[in-house]
Each structure stands twice: as C-alpha cells, then as structure tokens.
Amino acid sequence: MDLRFTAEEEAFRQDVRAFIRENLDPVTHRKMVEGRIPDKEEIVAWQRMLNSRKWATPSWPQSHGGPGFTPVERYIFLDELHQAPAPEPVSFNVSMIGPVLIQYGTPEQQERFLAATANLDIWWAQGFSEPGAGSDLASLRTSARREGDHYVVSGHKIWQGMAHHADWMFTLVRTDPQAPKKQMGISFLLIDLRLPGVTVRPIITLDERHEVNEVFLDEVRVPVDCLIGAENKGWDVTKFLLSNERTGIARIGMTKHLIRRIKRLADGDTSILAKAAALEAELKILEITQLRILDGQRRSSAADPRSSILKLKGVELRQAASELLLAAAGPAALEVRHDDAAFGEDDAEWLGTIMPNYGILRAASIYGGSSEVQKGILAKTQLGL
C-alpha cells in the first residue's frame, strides 16, 4: 500500500498549477478568490483556454477530444482548479451532456455538438427538474408528441442553473404517457433555446443572485434528429448521466480555499481556529477516502456507489466551512454588497460574498442527489437495506 503520488503525477500537478497561474485572467481569479461569480465572458474565455490543452474535458476519452487523464490525474487537475481557485469547466457541458453524446450520440450528433460543447461555443442547460418532479425525477410531465420530423414539446422545467447563459438544453420529456412504468415513457431530447415557444425566466435565490431559472416550453417544435438514444429509452441515458454526475469528487480543494480564508479572518481567535482544525482533520481523512475511491476506479470503470460517501461528507464539510467563515467574519458580513461592486484597494478579504455563499451552499445538499437520496443509495447498495 502506498498513498504517495508518483513523480510524474507530482510533475503534472506543478504543470497544472503553472498553467493556471500563467493563464487565468487576474480579474476572474480575484473574483473566485473572493467568492464572486465570474461573468459569462470570463467563464467562456477560461474554458477555451483550458480547451486549448484539451483540459476543458478532463473525463473525456482521447478518441473524442479528451486528454485521456487517468482517474488520479483527473483528481489532481480538479483539485488544483478548486484550490487556485479557478472556475471548473461548465459541468452541464463536460460532465453531463458530453459523456452522454460520446456514449449514446450518433456520429452526426457527435460531429455536430462535441467540439462545440468542449469549447463552450454551445452552453448547455440541464432541463430535468419540474415543479412536480424533483427527487422523483421519473414522475416528470413535460410532454412531447411526434408530428412528422418533429417532436412538439410542452411543459414547465424549473431550477435550470445558468440557463440564462445557455444556448441549448438537454431535456427529459414524456413521449409515452401510457407506458406501464413511469420510467419507460421518457425520452432524452436536445432543445435549442432560441426556438419559438421557449421562455427562460429568472429565479432569484436567497443570495440575491440570478443563477437558476424556470424554462417554459409551449408547443416547441424540436427536430427528431435531436433525440438522444431511442424513443422512450431516455431513462437509461439519464441513469448514465446521473452516475457520471456523481463520480466521486468531494471538492475538497474548494473547502481548503474556505479554510484559508477562515484562518485569515480568524485573526488569532483560538475558538475559531480550533473549529477550523476540527474541519481540517475530517477533510484530511476525506482526502484519503477520495484516493481510495480513485484507486478503485483505476481497477474498474463502473460507477462506484461509494461515491455517495464523498458527496455526503464533502458537502457536509463544505457547508460547515462556509458557516465557520461566516462566524469568523462576524456581523460585518451582513452588509449587503453585490458581486459587481468595484474591487477594494487592498481588500482581499472581501466580506460581501460570505453571507450569500453560506446561504446558497445549502443547495449543495439538495441538488446532484440530495443528502437524503444519497443515504438511500448507500443503504440500498452498500448495506442491502
């Protein structure tokens, strides 16, 4: 047994770090350090910069334009992004629809979408959830009926992250309302958001920011060549997508960034520092758990249900860190500031985002499989309950 990275892996880490340092736009970097959300242009520019080295698509195979990272390299790469911190490549593109296109897309669909998806020429939104279908996604009601070469789609999607930046949306629709099981009548469709009948409406969240949206679909005519996989077989595609979404990254580097800020703001307050150490102890051990799961992924590419452990503990610690950061900042963090406020002179400890980020981080245990859903997965797959 050996926990150490190889010399090549260590060199790779230095290479990633140097690349970020040399190429990440300083304004974008500063926003990330301060916990502000970068603009669309900044995110696009950064993803294209990464893509110039094929690094925008860390999990894609070389045959489809990916870098061919090993699981360990992928982990190191993301860890460096998280710690820098730098924006992650847009997950809707690279962790969700990209792998789906590679696995289920026709050669024409791959030709049409893959390169543009990697380069963020197309920004994707995820059109899964509906007002009546959250954790119970398969109960979705958005309907699509076939008319010649088109599906005519009507329904109401909700919580589409960054859909106001998006060009296209991958969507689940019900194509067979008579199917004997609700999972059986679902299809996976790509919808161009510029089509007539599509309305994207903002939802403002408790951080007073615009990150999520509702998408209304009113008799939208979607060409049939935008169907992924077979009609009524969309649930298989969805399960594949969700298992990729959950391939075990605990985002430990993001929490480390928060801990750095806590230590600066604590200003020697021993009670805060002791709480930070308690978080760090668990975080250090979670890193080992992460490596154990990576080690397993090197032996088998099957989705590892133990990834739910990473999601649960990773989110628990990140939420706890954001709460401790709020405590370290104190009541001054309550002053309402906006992300687009001018940078302060030497105000690296921008307090303006601490309360909003503490609030919105509550969502991390709701999306991507809520903590309750993750526990259900563990109980079923690991404990046989």
Partner: protein, 366 residues
C-alpha cells in the same frame, strides 16, 4: 498510489481473521477475561506462535520487519474480536518505545522477552516522575496514572525528567494499583518512591514517547475500524431481522439513513487507519504530528457516533451485557478516550497550524 493489500498481507489477514473467528466470540472472551490478569495466556501464546508479537520489530532486532499495514491488519481483526490480551500495551507501546529509543544493546536485552511474550511491557503515557542522579545510579520518585496494561506488566517504561527508564515490575519502591478498564484490558496507577536504577536501565537513544504514542494511535485506529465495522454489520443484520409492526424495522427510512450515516463514518475511520499505517514511515515530524492528531480526532468522533447509534438501533438489547453491541460500545468509547481524545487532538492540530495555511494557494495578480 496503490491501496490494495499485497498477497502476503492478504494471507496474514486471512490467518488472523480465522483465529479471531474461531477463538474470539463473546463466550470465549468472557472465559479469557475471567482468568487471572483478565486475559488468556493460551491466546497470548497463540499470537506469539503466529509471529504476531514479532511483527513490527526489525530483522536486526529479531523481528519480522513488517510495517504499519501489517499491524493495521492485526489491529482490525483484534478490534472485531475485542481482544483483551496486552498487545497494545506490550508490543505496540512498550515495544515501539524500546525499539526507537533504546541503544541496540539495550534492545537486544529487552526485545526478545517482549517478542516471546514472556515479558509483558507497559508504557506510562501520563506520568510525573523525577529522576535524580545519585552516584553512578538513579533514583526515581513520582507517579503515573492509567498506565495501559500496567496491571499485568513485568516491565514498565516510565518517562521521567531525565529520559525514559525501564523499570522491572518487581523493583523495590514500586507500588502498583491495578484495575480493569471499561472496554476491556487493564491498567494501573503506579507510584515510585526511591526506586533505584542504573544507567543500563535508562534508554540511551534519542527521543521520548512520541513514536510509541503514534504507533499506539495507529493501532487504536485499526482496532476501532474492526470494532466499528463489526458493530455496523451486526446492526444492519438486526435491522433486517427484527420485526415490529409486522415488518422488519429496516423498512423505516429513518433507520436506513442512520445506518448509511454510520457507514460514512466507518469508511472515514478506515481511511484514517490506512493513513495511520502509511504515516509510520514518514520522516517529517510535523507531517506525522499533524497527521496523527487528525487521525485520532476522527477515530474518536466516528467511533462514538457508530457506538451510540449501534446501541440505539438495537433497542433495549443494545444495552445488555449479553449482547456484543454493548461491548463494542464500551471499547469504542475507551479507544476515543485514551492517548488523547478528540478535543485535545483538535487543540493540538490547531496549535500545529493544521494542514492548510492561511496564505492563498498562489497569489492573485489583480
């Protein structure tokens, strides 16, 4: 990076697991605990015969020269069996202290007895003892509390104001009050009043009890994993078989979720134990110090969580002395408390500055 066991390690695991399964159920354990000293000479001899007591010592010292991972394998099995023989106190704590701090000549004097199981060692980790030079000898005065295994030890290692001393259990001036510990095993409070020793009794190498305590933490981490996994397994079985309201209690989601939370903690503990095993070879003192503090902190917290909820999910039977769960509960509680509890480890980690510095990962150019 490679986190699989080697073939040899797997064989070791199989044979230790088999011994525990065959010779260490609750009834056996009760018999062992009723023997003088509260443990079984026969089981101890079995462990000696298997080579387990030689395992961590180097070839030069006459040991098997195996490392942290092998010790972890044994610890995990012992944790599952709730083994009461003095492996932690004699082999891990006293043995590591001698092998790290003694001169080679001293080690050659003491280690063979430790490895053969005839000498039972103990290390005082909480002591206030003054060593005074008198002529070419030493006089020791003071006390040591809760010396693990100190009740059965024939050789006590006592840290003093002037280094570590190896004190024979029957030396004049040494008084011991031995007692049983909740959670298994025994300990002693020790009083030294004018104990006369020579230079040969003073461990001549450099260092204190640090490495021994680290080895102890690694052992406890492994033991905790064994106990936690066993407690979780028993609990999951119980959820599936115990019926109330006409159905297995496992149909209740609140219980499924609690079991899943226990699993998360068991896996964290397992990571901690692996980290502990691999950290034994680390040369950097700071890395070891922060690492073991985090390991023990997590083990204490996770162990307590699993202990408490295994009892809760068993209902009334969980607090019965007749049920294994209550024994796991006590052992896990004890493991959390000895060699530094979670709170003190966290305080130490904070004092050492933690793992992440306050400075940015790299500077912002804006």
């Amino acid at each position: 990076m490679d986190l699989e066991l080697s073939d040899d390690q797997r064989m070791l695991k199989d044979s230790v697991d088999r011994i525990i399964t065959e010779h260490y159920d609750l009834d056996h354990r009760k018999t062992y605990m009723s023997q003088p000293g509260g443990w079984s000479q026969e089981m101890w001899s079995t462990f000696v015969a298997l080579g387990l007591t030689m395992l961590p010592f180097s070839d030069e010292q006459g040991g098997l020269g195996l490392g942290g991972v092998e010790t972890m394998i044994v610890g995990e099995a012992f944790g599952r069996g709730l083994v009461v023989e003095p492996y932690l106190s004699s082999i891990v704590l006293a043995g590591t202290a001698i092998s790290h701090v003694a001169t080679p000549e001293q080690a050659a004097g003491w280690l063979p007895g430790i490895m053969s199981g005839e000498t039972i060692g103990a290390l005082a980790t909480d002591s206030a003892v003054i060593a005074e030079r008198e002529g070419d000898g030493w006089t020791l005065n003071g006390t040591a509390h809760v010396v693990l295994g100190g009740d059965s030890a024939t050789l006590l290692i006592i840290p003093t104001s002037d280094g570590l001393f190896v004190v024979p259990g029957d030396v004049t001036g040494l008084e011991r009050r031995g007692y049983r510990l909740h959670g298994g095993g025994g300990a002693a409070d020790v009083k030294l009043a004018g104990v006369k020793l020579t230079d040969a009794d003073r461990l001549g190498g450099n260092g204190g009890t640090g490495r021994a305590i680290e080895a102890g933490v690694a052992w406890l981490a492994a033991e905790a994993v064994g106990a936690m996994q066993a407690a979780l397994d028993l609990t999951v079985d119980y959820l599936k078989t115990r019926e109330q309201f006409g159905k297995p209690i496992a149909v209740n989601q609140s219980l499924q979720h609690r079991a899943a939370e226990m699993l998360v903690e068991v896996e964290q503990a397992r990571s901690a134990a692996m980290y502990a095993a691999l950290l034994a070879d680390e040369q950097d003192d700071h890395v070891r110090a922060t690492g073991y503090a985090a390991i023990k902190a997590v083990i204490g917290k996770a162990g307590r969580f699993v202990a408490q909820y295994s009892v809760q999910l068993h209902g009334g039977i969980g607090v019965s002395e007749e049920h294994m769960i209550s024994h796991y509960f006590r052992r896990l509680t004890a493991i959390g408390m000895v060699l530094g509890d979670t709170e003190s480890q966290i305080a130490r980690l904070a004092e050492l500055g933690g793992f992440t510095s306050a400075t940015p990962h790299f500077g912002t150019a804006a």
